[in-house]
């Protein structure tokens, strides 16, 4: 068990820090969170800067145009960019972290050449069309239909919880191509051009008041068969190739940020007197243990990925279960420290508290994650 970084890893860190110190001052000011075109422009500007410096697609394989970095280098990248206050992937999220890797793994050479370089350069933005109003936790129950007509599929249905749909160029879309097959075996993965006729995007206002997500309605939208990645009806497997293996790095930046928030919270508590409340002070101490352990668990998972080439997604379930609840506890504790000020939407901590409520729901609810842990790690029988 070794927690020290190698000379090579430290050299990578030093190079990155040096570049961040010169690059970040050149970034324009952060855009208004409600101005989608401005957000896209900001996020793609950052992506272009990363591309120019050779950091784009750090964790992608070299054959896909990435740098083929190790999981540990990726951890260092995420840690250092967060500490330096650099932007996260933002609108590039789906392209860099899901659609891109899926195309890299399952696409033809022509598909890789068409779609991957624009993602790395920040020229094109992807969104994700997976969930539907009646297909949430039971994603494989999705009903958006695609019917073959010559060289096209004709797609009708609706998708929900699609981030960045307003400004995306492409959507990685799961559709049902065989309604008679068992539900996992009739699904196909398509790249949907977001400017195709028949697409309506409606912003979805969340309880935080903002419109981070959208609903996407598809009315006989024509998608070329050439936009299909993988075989017809093999889309579930194509999607899971990327979803079921990760490198333990999904929440690195967020854990770094939570630890900083906790330290700031302690200072606030000392300044406003709530530090003298034994229960509250000890709760802050408990959260210190919690987030330190989550950082160590991240290093543990990343090291496992480095040794074995990937962490099965089930290891990610253990982390996600604990982290999503810890994040909610952090912002609930912040509210106790702030007292009446916690009711002020003008404070970042109030907005963070509201957005933390999605963490135990998005990307697999805590209940689904517990099923995964119980069945796939502990070997308990499937059931209800």
């Amino acid at each position: 068990m070794d927690l020290t970084y190698t000379e090579e890893e430290e050299a990578f860190r030093a190079g990155l820090r040096g570049w961040l110190a010169t690059a970040l001052p050149q970034l324009p000011p952060r855009p208004d969170p409600l101005d989608w075109p401005a957000r896209r422009a900001y996020d793609t500007t950052w992506q272009r800067m990363l591309y120019g410096a050779g950091y784009a697609g750090l964790h992608w394989p070299e054959a896909a145009g990435g740098r083929g970095a190790t999981p540990t280098q990726h951890l260092i990248y995420l840690e250092e960019t967060e500490k330096a206050g650099a932007p996260y992937v933002g609108a590039n999220f789906v392209g860099l972290l899901h659609a891109g890797p899926t195309i890299a793994a399952e696409g033809t050479p022509g598909q890789r050449a068409r779609w991957l370089p624009p993602v790395l350069r920040g020229d094109e933005i992807w969104c994700q069309g997976f969930s539907e109003p009646d297909a949430g936790s039971d994603l494989a129950a999705l009903r958006t239909r695609a019917v073959r007509d010559g060289d096209d599929y004709v797609v009708s249905g609706s998708k929900i919880w699609t981030s960045h749909a307003e400004v995306a160029d492409w959507c990685e879309l799961l559709v049902r191509t065989d309604p008679d097959a068992p539900k996992h075996r009739g699904i196909t993965w398509l790249a949907l051009p977001m400017d195709a006729p028949g697409i309506t995007v409606r912003p979805l206002r969340t309880l935080a008041g903002s419109a981070e997500f959208a609903e996407v309605f598809l009315d006989e939208v024509r998608v070329p068969v050439a936009n299909r990645v993988g075989a017809e009806n093999d889309g579930w497997r194509v999607t899971m190739v990327t979803l079921s293996f990760e490198r333990g790095t999904a929440f690195v930046g967020e854990v770094v940020a939570c630890r900083r928030t906790l330290a700031e919270l302690a200072k606030t508590a000392q300044a406003n007197g709530s530090w003298d409340d034994d229960a509250l002070r000890r709760q802050l101490g408990r959260l210190n243990a919690e987030f330190t352990a989550l950082w160590r668990l991240t290093q543990w998972n990343v090291s496992a990925a480095q040794r074995g080439g990937g962490v099965p997604g089930v290891g990610g379930s253990v982390f996600k279960l604990r982290y999503s609840h810890a994040r909610q506890e952090l912002f609930d504790t912040a509210a106790r420290v702030l007292g009446p000020d916690a009711l002020d939407l003008g404070r970042d901590l109030t907005l963070d508290r509201l957005s933390s409520l999605s963490y135990t729901i998005a990307a697999g609810t805590s209940q689904i994650q517990r099923n995964i842990v119980a069945e796939r790690i502990l070997g308990l029988p499937k059931g209800r």
Partner: protein
């Protein structure tokens, strides 16, 4: 960075598990419950295996290994519910004659409590006026003393945390095993989500505690050790509670081992550094 066990560390851990399976299996555990005396033959066998002398330099007859390796052995000890003043005797190796080899059993007064006082050959700290109490844990005789703990010894805290980790992992296994075998309503109770989710949460607490305990062993940092103890205490106590619940009525019997894990976890949660003390250390570090 390579935060995973080395092959030597895996072998050491497996060797300890084999030794304990052979020398302190379930029959021995239940015999010890019926007749709680310190098994000196076993104590010397632990000494010969290097359990106490693990961290002494080879030039002094030790094994020359470090805290991470000690933590792996103590995890196995906790898993097997191995009784005796293990932490005090391990820490006394090299300082008290005979402790390293397992000839001398050493205990230590800690926070108003001292374990195995009547059985120990050597007592560290002031045990004058100690009065016996009827220990909740049948495998840990306890005395109350007048003193109060000022600061916890980080190494003792860490080794106790490692025992809690082993106990938490074992409780998880026992719960899963029972949930797979026990049938009600015509199917294994582990097929019900209400039971499944208890088991999943046990594993999550155990694995988070594992990362915390192992990392604290590598860094040796007192604040990180406090965090490890806090999380391992929770994993062990809540794990045993949930294991008891999964066992249903059987879990409330003397015959099932579940209560032995719970009671020992309660004792260890009070030893060396309590949750309150750990939280204060962790708050002060912010």
């Amino acid at each position: 960075m390579d935060f995973q066990l080395t092959s030597d560390q895996r072998a050491l851990k497996a060797g300890m598990r084999e030794l304990l399976a052979a020398r302190f299996g379930r029959d021995a555990l239940r015999a010890a419950v019926d007749r709680p005396e310190l098994d000196r033959t076993l104590w010397r066998a632990l000494g010969e295996a290097g359990f106490f002398a693990l961290r002494l330099p080879e030039s002094e007859g030790g094994v020359g290994l470090g805290l991470p390796e000690a933590v792996l052995l103590f995890e196995e000890a906790g898993r097997a519910l191995l009784p005796g003043p293990l932490v005090a005797s391990h820490l006394a190796a090299g300082a008290v004659k005979g402790a390293a080899g397992g000839e001398t059993v050493v205990t230590r007064v800690d926070g108003g409590l001292v374990g195995w006082l009547a059985e120990a050959d050597h007592v560290q700290g002031d045990a004058s006026g100690a009065t016996p109490l009827r220990s909740v844990d049948p495998l840990t005789p306890l005395h109350r003393t007048g003193g109060r703990r000022t600061t916890g010894d980080p190494e003792a805290v860490l080794l106790a945390a490692a025992e809690q980790l082993g106990s938490a992992a074992r409780s998880t296994e026992l719960a899963v095993q029972h949930a797979q075998e026990r049938e009600q309503f015509g199917r294994p109770v582990g097929s019900f989500q209400a039971v499944k989710h208890l088991c999943a949460d046990m594993l999550v607490r155990t694995e988070v505690a594992r990362a915390a305990v192992y990392a604290a062993a590598v860094t040796g940092d007192a604040e990180e050790i406090a965090g490890a103890k806090l999380l391992a205490d929770e994993a062990a106590v809540r794990g045993a509670r949930d294991c008891l619940q999964v066992h249903g009525g059987m879990g409330f019997t003397w015959e099932a081992d579940v209560h032995l894990h719970l009671k020992r976890a309660w004792v260890r949660a009070e030893q060396w550094q309590s949750a309150k003390e750990a939280c204060e250390v962790l708050a002060a570090a912010l």
